[in-house]
Every structure is written in C-alpha cells, then in structure tokens.
Symmetry: D3
Subunit: 284 residues, 6 copies
C-alpha cells in the first residue's frame, strides 16, 4: 500500500534528491567514521500532535536500494494524512547506519515542514466544519516546494486552488485597471485561453461581482470584504458562480467567514507560515 | 550599492529562476490580457515591522533587462538587514506591466519568507543582548532554501553554523555509539578529515564534554542540558573549547541559556518555523 | 514590436538552444573555414504560401548578441501569424557569416515546422468560417515541441485545448470503465481537483452526454459520432455544456461537422501530421 | 530480444522522459480517479499499413518497473523496422491502469511520428528499388528529435547522412563564396579537420564537381540539378567520388533521379513532413 | 565489500555518466558491428607499478545492470588504495561485448588518471616517512575532477586540504593587502564566518606568522620559505598553530622540508601534473 | 580579435562555469573580507616556457560583466597557440578584487593544464619536423575535458583524431574477433554507417593491412609495430590508405617513427600525462 494520499504528486523525486545533495555536498565528513557495513534499526517518532505528511518521501530516502535488498527494510506505520499523537511511530526500518545518518536531517526537514502545513490546514478545516466552505490554498508558497505544499494541504483536509499562473485564470485589480474594465479583461482572455480554463475575477464590491458574472466569469474572489458584504454577495450571486473569500483570514475569523455561505476560503498562512511539526529519528 | 548583505551568497540565481518557472509554467494565462508594451510604476511596501531580506532577489526579478534599459528602472530603498516598519517602501521601479504581474508573487514569496527568518532571528538576538552568546542556525532548513535561509539568519543578526554535512563535523550520539566511544569516533574522523575542519561533539553530560576535549574536539554541543549543567560546563571547560547550547530553545528560554555563558545557542525554529513577514506590491 | 503573437509562450528559449546544440555538437567543422570577422547580409524568404510562425525564434538565433551590437542587426518583415506568399521576405539582417551558417538549419527547422502547423490549422479554420465552431488542438503533438506547436495553432487562427494532463480534465472511456460509471468518475475527480478546472467527459452516445451533464461535467467530447447524432447532441444539450467533436476529422469532413453546431472541433492532424512550409535563407 | 534495430541510438532515454514530463507536468489530474492498485491488460494496434518504429520506447514507457516486477509484463509482437498492417498488434502487456493512462499519449506520440518517418522513407526506398541509389536523410529534422528520426529512417530502409555540423563536412555555396573558391574552402578545412572526416562539396555545375574533386573532396552534392546533368556527372566523376543528388526530390521524381546512377539521394521530406502513422492503445 | 576507500566520495556518479556520454555522443558507430547478445569475459591489468584508484568507477561502468543480472558479473581483485605491480589483474567480469567496447576507454581514462594521482602522492608520502609531516593536496586540480582527485590523494596516503573556497578559509597576501593588515582581514572574516571553520593565513615572514597567531589564526601557510626559516617558524610557533609548508616543493626537496618539523606539506603537482598510470583491458 | 585559435570549440562555457561552481560552492568564505567595491589591476604571467592555451577562458572568467562595463577591462597580450617565455604577461585587466580572488584558481587551473597539453604536443611536433607525419591525439583524455584538450592539441601544432565513438569508426581487434574477420566487421559497419564516415582498422600485421584495404578501409592504425614493419606498410600500402602509427610512442622514439613515412602518429601521452605549465596571477 502506498504511503501517499491519492493522487500522488508527480516528479517529487528530483526535489527530494536535490535536497539531499544540498545537505551532503561533496560528502558527509562525519559519517565516514561509521563502518560501511554497519546496519541499524531506526524509527521516526512524532513529538507533537498533528497530521502527518511526507511518509512516502521518508520511504524514498531511507528505504531499500541497490543490489542487496535483503539487508534493508522499511515499514510505514502511518500514511500521509493520518492523525498522529506524541510518541506515535510513523515509520521504521533497518538500514546501513551511514545511510541513515546522512539522510536523517533531509528526511525530517520534509516531514516536519509538510506535516506542519497539513496540521495548520487541518486546524482551519476544523473551524469551518458544519458549513459548506472549503479551505483552499494560494500561490503564497515557499519557493521550490509548491507542489509538495499543495499536496500537504490536501493531507490536512484542504483543497487546492490553481497550481500556478499557467493552469488557472485569476483577474486581479491591476489586470482590470490595465484592460479598462472587468468586461474588457475577461473578453481579452477568452479570446485566447483554452475553453477548459475557468475565469475567476477578484472583486472589491458587489458591483464588481455583478460585472464579473455578466462578463462570463465562473468564479469571483471577494477580496478583504467584510462578512456582511460577503453574505450579500452569496445571497445575490451564489447560484451564478463560485464565491471565494480571501484576504488575511485567520483561525480566529475563519468560522465567521464560513458562515456567510461562501464556497471557498483561501488562506495564505497555511503554506507561508506553518510552524514545523516535530519528529525525531531514533536508532536502536 | 548592492542590496545584499556581504558576503552575498553565491549562485542564488538558479533558485530564483526555478521558482519563477515553478509559478509561470508554460505561461501566465491571465497576463496575456495586458498590452505587451504597457509600462507601470510599482513599489513594494512592508505591512508589518521586522527586518527585510530578499531585496537583491527583488532587483533581479523586477529590474531592468534585455536590450532597452531605458524603459525600466529600479531603486532599492532598503537593503538586506534593514529594519522596516509598516508602510515603509522597500523597493520601487518602472517596468512592463506583464513582467511585474508575472513576477510579483515569486518576488513576494522570497521576500516574505526570508524577511520572516531574519525577523525571528532578530527577536532571538534581541533576547540575548548584553551576553556573549551568539544565535546560530541549524540544518533544520526548508529543502532547497538552505543557503538563502542561512543568509537571512545573518540579515537578522544571527550567525551561521555549518552549511551541510560536507563543511563541518558534528559527532552525534549515534556516531559515538557506532564507533564505540567519543575518543574512537574523533580519532576515526581525524584520520581522514581535512586539518581545516573543526570537530564538534554532541554531549549529554559533563563526562562527555571532558571526553570530547580529551579526544581533541574543538567545540561541544550541549544537547538539551538544563541551565545549571550548562553553567557548570562553561565554568569547567569554557576556556578549552567552544560551547554551544542546543535543543528546543525558545524566545522564552533563550535569555536564561545565554546567561549561562555559552558561546553559541543554536535554534532550529528560526529557519523551520519562521512566520512570513508581510509585504505587498502596488502598481500606480 | 515583438514578432510573437500575444501571449508569447514562456520558456521557449531552452528548447531553441538545445536544438542548436543538437546540431552543432562539439563544433561546426565546416564553418571553421570562414573568417571569424566576416559579416554578411542575409534574409529568409518564403517558398510557398501559408502562415508564418517562428519569427521570434529566428530573431533569437540570428539577432545581435554579445558586446558589440553595432556589427549586427535584424529586422522582422513579418510577425507570427502573418500570411506569406512565395518570395516574401520574412526577416533579414546583418551578422557574422559563421554565426549565420551555424544557426541557419536550426532556424529554418523551427520556422518550417511551426509555419507548417499554422498553415494547416488555417486551412481547417477556413473550412469552418461562417459557423460558430472553433478549431482546437489535441495532445497529439511531437515530443518536446508541445508548447510551441500549440502556439503555432493560435498563429493559424485555431484555439488551444488543455496543454497536458496537468491543466485540464478529460474523462475517457477507460476512466469510466475503471471507476464504474460517468457519475462515479466525475465525483471522484471533484473530490480532489481544483475548483478552477473544468471537467470534460468523452461520450459515445447521447445517454453518455446526459449522464455527464447530470454528473456536473462542463464539457463533453463527442467521440467519432456521426453528424446526425452530433446535431442531436447540440440541440438537446448545447445550452447546458460545451460540446466538442473529435475523431478523425479531415479537411474534407470538417465543414460538415461544424454545421452541426458543435462549439469545438479538435483535430490531431494539425500538430502530428502538418507538412513543413518551405523557407530558405540567402546570403548576400 | 531487443525491440530496437541495431545499432540502437544512445541516450534516447532522457528525450522520452522529458516528453512524459511535458505531458504530465505537476500531475495527471484525471487519472487520480483510478484505484492505485488497479491492473489492466492493454495492447497497441496499428490503424494503417506501414513500418513500425518506437517499440523500444513503448517498452520503456509501459513496461515493468519498480520493486514488484510480478504485477506487470510486456511483450513486443513487432520490432522496429517491421511491416505492419491495420489491426496488427504491435505490443501488449499488463500494467497499473493509472500508469497506462498517464503514459498512453506520450507512447503513441513517439510511435506515430517515428513510424510515420519510417513509412515515408520506405516509400522512397521502394521507388528506387533495382537501382544502386540509397535514400539518405538530411538535417531538416524536427528540433530535439534528430537522433530518433534518423534512427527511424534506418527502420524504413534508408541510410543516414551526417548527424550534425560536428560529425561531417559539407561545403555549401556560401562557404565557397566566403572562402574565395572551392579549392580555398577545402584547403582551409583540411588544415584543421580530423583525417577521419570526409569532405563533401555542394556543386551547382559540372565545373564545380571537377573543382571539388581536384581539391580533394570525397563526395559531391548535386544541388537541384536536372537528371541529364546528374547523369553526366555520374559518367564523368562517378568513379572518383561519391555522388549525392539533393533538392526537392519527391515520390514522383525519385525514380528518375535514381536512374541517373547517383549513389545517394537525400530527401528532407522524410523527416520534416512525414505524416503520422496511426496506432491506438486499447485496454481490456 | 566496497572497492572504494572510506569515506567514499558522494555524487561521483554524474561525473562518470557525463564522461561516458562525452565519449559515446549520439552512439558508438563502431560497436554496432557486434552482435547485441554477445557476452565476453574481460579483465583489466596493470601495466606499471603504483597505487590503484578508480576500481569502484570500473564496477559502475562495466558491472551488472538492467533486468537480467545473471548474464553479467564483476569481481574486483584490488580495491582503491591497493598497491599493484605490472601484470596484476585489477578487476574482471563477464558482460555484453558492446557494453565493454563502449565503456572501455572511459573506464580506463578514470583509472589511469586517478591511479596516477594516487601513485605520485604515494611517492611524496614515501619521501617524508619517518617525519610527522603529512602530504596534503591543493586547489590546483583539473576542472570538474576535484572531488575524485582529492579522493585519489587519500588513496595514495595523502591528506586533503579544503575542498574549495566554500569549506575553508585561507587568507592570502592579496586579501591582507586589501584589508589593510592580517589582523583586519582575520577580524572581518571572524565577524561572519561559521565558528566551525578554521582560519589559515598565508605568511611570508616570521612576523606574519606572529601577527596571524595574534589575530587568532588556527593555521599558517609558509609560502615559499627556505627550510631554515621554516624550522624557526616551527620552533617558535609550532605549539600555537598548525604549520603548513607550500610552494614549488618537489620529490627532490620534500624530505628536507619535512625535516623542519612542519605538520603539513601541500603539493600542487600531485593533482595538476600526475602522469597517468597505465592499465589495459583485455577480452577473452 | 579573438583569443581563441580558429575554429573555437563550441559550448566550452558550461564546462568553465561548472568548474567555477566546483570551487566556489555555496560561497567564497575568505573573499567576504574584501570591500565589495574594491577594484584592482591584475595580470597573469608565465613562469615557464611553452605554448599558451586558455586565454579565451581567462577572458570569460575575469573580463567585464554585468551592467557597468566601465569599471572593468581586460587585454589579452597573447592568444591561444602563442609561444611564451618565463615572465611574459599573457593577459591583464582591471576588475573587482573579490571577483579576481574568487576566479583566480579556476582560471589558472584551465590555463596551466591546457597550456601543458599544448606545450607537450609542440615538443612532439618539433621532433617530427621535416617529415610528413602529423601528431594526432587519442581518446585517452581526462574525463569531461576532451573538447578542450583536443583544442589544446591544435594550439600546440597537433591534429585531431575523432572526438569520440560517435564521429569516427575505428575497428579494433576485439571487434574483428567478434565479427569473425576484418572483412565481416567492415561490411557490417558499412551497412548502417553514414557515407560521410571513414573507416579505420587497427592492424597487427601486414596481412591485416592488406585485408583492411580490400575490405574498403580508408585508414589503418599500425598497433605497436616496429619501425621496419611500419616502413614496409608505408611502401606497400601508403598510396592506398592513410597510415597511422600508434602505441607507446615517446619523445625519444617519435622521430624514428616519423621517418618510416607514416602519415599520422597518435600519442596518448599528450593528453593523459601532460605536466602543467606554470602561470601565476598578480595583483597591483
């Protein structure tokens, strides 16, 4: 059984290998003191409560490899998206000591960060339980880690917005200003964009929402609106397009936003400011 | 004048270009609605107080390029390591609208994360002011961003520990267990390591410290010791080797640790859990 | 003025540089006979009638570079998407002879293939003139050239379908068979896909179309249906979702398909089987 | 037994992996609806008559991989260079459904294009049967695909000209003009080129051929000559150097050219304008 | 058992693969004449006396691979660092003939160069036997091969200086001149460098050595000093810092330098001018 | 005027950049002590007599760059292939101190090695002066540096053999043994190889030479033959094919070999064992 939550991201492998190379560079000077044949039993344990993400990466970095698969083994006790409590063993195995020592930090760096993202996401998701709102991520991700962070958001029960500027259209105020009006911006985009792409428009007023819908937008982003205006937007336009709330929404305020009836609440904090969830690796 | 704090990290350029490519992919579908010749004035403004890091990256992503340098311009109002207050303009310029729109998010993602690291570091540094202790970073960094995060630590007034497994030697409990003793581990390493590398040994007791010094270690890391034991370590061994405190040290506890007289306090949190510092880019 | 049709594809540069390296390898053995300082006037001329695509690439491969811009020059007489007749000069300039000789073939290989795609697309577009049908491309592209070929389709007046498996959802018969039913496949995808993505379902009967719409599909692909069934699909479902016709449509049959009222007609042939449009480069 | 025609091209693997990545990007959104463990039987069938090329690539993209080879299997029913008729099964196997769905299009894109090249080449080869002329390719190939296209030419019974500017010398009119004369150009090249390289000179008249041979050329390319002049060139110089005919030679005219006695006929069309040969992949 | 001397360098694999690609390019034209299934027995034999280095690389290039490990085999008779005499078999195996023929030259190129470095190093090491001096390498290495050459130095009994500008600090005369004095240069570096890095200062006089030690340097490099001055430096400062001799030291002079009591003697010649040690590969 | 000998190798730039990155890694720790704005005058001086190669690389590593070309300058006093005496200035300029310090070693490593190859080649060329023999290189080059070393051979007055396995055909004893006979090996290769490639056969006897010529070989390599047999080979076959002598030829024996009348003498030593030619860089 895979330790990944479906669908597994594609092509995470080079990111993980590059991170290992970033740490080892021309060689792990300290681990040269270990006998090259020494095998050890190891396990990774959670040190706080949260949601785990990165188990498949740990399998890659610490699992069997090369020509003698008998000497090493690995067993995932948790899979991505599982809840963990302090003291839970996440994954364990048997491996060459020097391989464990050289890959330990890189493994934990992924596990701690991605589990941190999943855990903070899950906290937001918990706050909106009982409403129809979904928590979605943003493009406010850490450089080079977007695909993995967006995967971690799903492990925490959140949903994904577009991956980047290439796979979704979000018309912002600056686009509108430059194009002349919401209608002109949307029409310009329609003229060349794929029919498979939805168009979302950032709105600062109910008039904007109206204009966006008339121009054919399939979704609107309510930017920093107060809950009263959000509720009105939902009442007037909720059956005509997807409505997303955005802008500085915190764990304290998210429940109130959700109750306005918006379909989507996007939160930058879950990727740009998630504190790490602690894990450690023990040998023996 | 360079917007980087000296010494500027080497080869940050591909990391930044890859992050831009991660966001734009096969193309920015939305910005196609902007006239290709439209020039705009833009500036980036701090939205909270802290220490800025990433201005040189912003210059790279938003600055003049190509064959017609006259049409674009850029001016850094702050340089890396500067203190900023809410509302301060960090950098401003004139550039093609579509270039600004396509690079905005990547620029801010670097600026917000690196400034977050610098700012949290500065908070730790502030807590130990008046002591001789230096705040140093760890290898608990976000995958792919280590060199930039360690640079951000310096922008916040902190100092750097080793960059990776290749440029420093830190003998941990698992190395010692596998090698048989501190002496045996250190001797094994001395037999092949460069004379330019210092050897640091992770110690869990004063006996360990004693053994490490006798084996020739130039630094010891006191792992999760209580302040009383740290103080005793400093008193007995502070003139014989560098003493570093480590292990779960927080903003609440760091001052107490510093007062024990340790030379170095390493803090994983400043890189693995720094919340972003907010900035936004405005046009017009 | 840019020689590219807006929006210009992103990151075409490495594809072009790699193609040049593929041709030159460790060095152009023949061009070593040319004096390194010899400058020549050159121009590229169309040898058949069609629509040009690749002028921006020619500018990159043959244009000014390095520290002495005075010695070279380049002028695009046509821009991508322009109609050309036999004998028309597309682009001309002055450049080092050995640079022209080394880059000539690579330049023409791009220009001939991309203009071939644009020209064949334009022929299909011409056949459906007067109807509401748009000609769209497929994923049946030549390996490594998809972004450029899809750009060429736009230069010929066509429109783009999804770029790849990552930026659009098309549920095929095998997905449906594996998932159990159209409803189950669409629901599974909705549970994890971004709200920004439309879902299209491949349909082999009107019952399939009905089921797809009930499951929430925003578009349907009528796979190898005869025109009568297509027309009925349009009449019954044309106001509920986008309707795309696909499957072996040729220059002979496309007009008939368009008259059924479908919104989109996808044609693999315009990318996988477009004959090159001839151009040659002359010196002097 | 290998599915490749000997000698197999070297280092085709990254081209194929890059093409797969071009299609999948950050992930196959649709295939996420398939159960990760679902295995299916699949086969690829020819939809037209021709010569197959790309079976080894199909083996790579759809064959067994990873740690559990038992669950997947693959059997090539045809090898590269084989003749196929509509309905022939080319290759079949058992594999994870999501892997088949994600790799299907990339596999077919290679197979259809390379088989198209092989098939068109075979048509030219058929036209010159009974003469001594060989059909050879040119550098008019699609960017990034040259080594594979030249391999496909061999699968269709053709022969390869130089691979690029680095492994063969062909002196063209512009080189001659710049060097002053055929003799001067050839002498300049001889002074630095490896003794392992033959020199071929592009000739527009019999005087050129004479001059080329006197300068030591080992081959001449008759550029756009009429058959009468070609025949005379063969009669006068055919025992002194290799004679290649080139320039706009089509399926209609190639037999006449071959009858002039030239040793080689180079045809750009077989690589730059070969229509795809149709195949489809079926599951179940 | 590994054929590498511990600790094995990290990430040598791409260097070796790139070298193979450098030789094979688009394909080994000659080896196409060999039957693809032909297996041969092969062995590599030393043709001169010396110390071997590169056996692990030979295992990689000529050893079992792919899905049928039964048909190939490899046995290292010597490991890196072993002494070899003319006629000694270093490594032998059974492998596809075409694989052996295509990889033979690349394998031998590594083996001959690295063994050359190990052998010349061993000659220097032999000359200083009976003293406390260690032979160390420099940064005068061949571009792209530094990590492997420094590994070869260890195989010959030498020791490694810093790997590059990033993992060690060596203050040279130009740094001192620019900074104003030894003290100022060292202080500037201390202010930002990691506490894990030792500082070495290049000295041209005993006053320089004195100043370096006062500034806190942990090592000094005596640049081109005569043995009398070296001896005095050792006597006055040998207990205060590591002393390294450097500058044009040859096999003739190294013993005299060692007798001065310096701890380290760095020799550029062992990497920049080591003649190859001869090996050949035989089949059958 | 270019500092390169024509024709300049293509794509040497990444090799040089990679070598710089190999040395600088995450940053030059020492050069951080230099003021970022400090400009210095520098020059590179020969320390021994020989032939220079690598001046174009020095221009790249130390020359003007970036947006302010006024502050830096560079002047090549010698070009590749020039003879130098001890004390000759090869190249000089004005540049930022930290850039000079960081690039100095990489620049000299290229210059010293490539000039070493050129100088040793020139010594061989000198020994055969007055004969018709050309000195040619082999594939016994240092991994990753082949194109530059073969360029250096030309700078020393030598000539190039094939670049790799892809651009020339050399049938060796093992090929012949596997194919059955010289005739069979050559015929197999002719059946698929390009008509642009010459075929050379390694011969151990005059019978081999005879067989090679009958099979159509255009060149033969006399492997380790004594001069008498070489002379006989030249007399009997010198007008029928190119004759190359090879195998352990040294500065002592090369003149004797040349006098036998062979056209080519290949020498592995000029690339695999050339001692560095000394240069140093001075500032101020």
């Amino acid at each position: 059984m895979s330790a990944w939550l479906e669908p597994e991201p594609y092509d995470w492998w080079p990111i993980v290998e590059d991170a290992l190379a970033e740490d080892i560079g021309h060689g792990d000077v300290t681990s040269g003191c270990l006998s090259p044949d020494l095998l050890v039993d190891w396990h990774i344990e959670a040190q706080s409560e949260g949601f785990v993400c990165g188990v498949g990466i740990a399998e890659h970095l610490l699992g069997p490899y090369g020509s003698d698969p008998d000497q090493s083994a690995i067993t995932a006790e948790k899979v991505d998206g599982d809840h963990v409590r302090r003291g839970d063993i996440v994954i364990q195995g048997r491996q060459l000591a020097r391989r464990v020592m050289s890959a330990e930090r890189t493994t934990l760096n992924f596990l701690m960060h991605l589990s941190g993202v999943a855990t903070l996401t899950a906290q937001f998701v918990g706050k909106v339980q009982g409403t129809d709102a979904k928590i979605v991520d943003t493009r406010k991700t850490l450089p080079g880690l977007r695909a993995l962070e967006k995967y971690a958001v799903r492990c925490g029960g959140g949903h994904n917005h577009r991956m980047g500027l290439y796979d979704g259209i979000l018309v912002k105020d600056n686009h509108i200003a430059a194009a002349g009006s919401i209608r002109q911006a949307v029409e310009a985009i329609r003229s060349y964009a794929s029919h498979m792409s939805k168009i979302e428009v950032e709105c600062e007023s109910l008039e904007d929402v109206q204009a966006a819908i008339e121009a054919g937008a399939e979704a609107v982003l309510l930017d920093n609106m107060d809950p009263f205006m959000m509720r009105e937007a939902v009442q007037r336009f909720g059956d005509k397009c997807l409505i997303e709330a955005s802008g500085g929404i915190s764990l304290d305020t998210v429940a109130g936003v959700a109750k306005t009836g918006v379909a989507l609440i996007s939160v930058g904090q879950i990727t740009h400011s998630a504190p790490a969830l602690s894990f450690h690796l023990e040998i023996g």
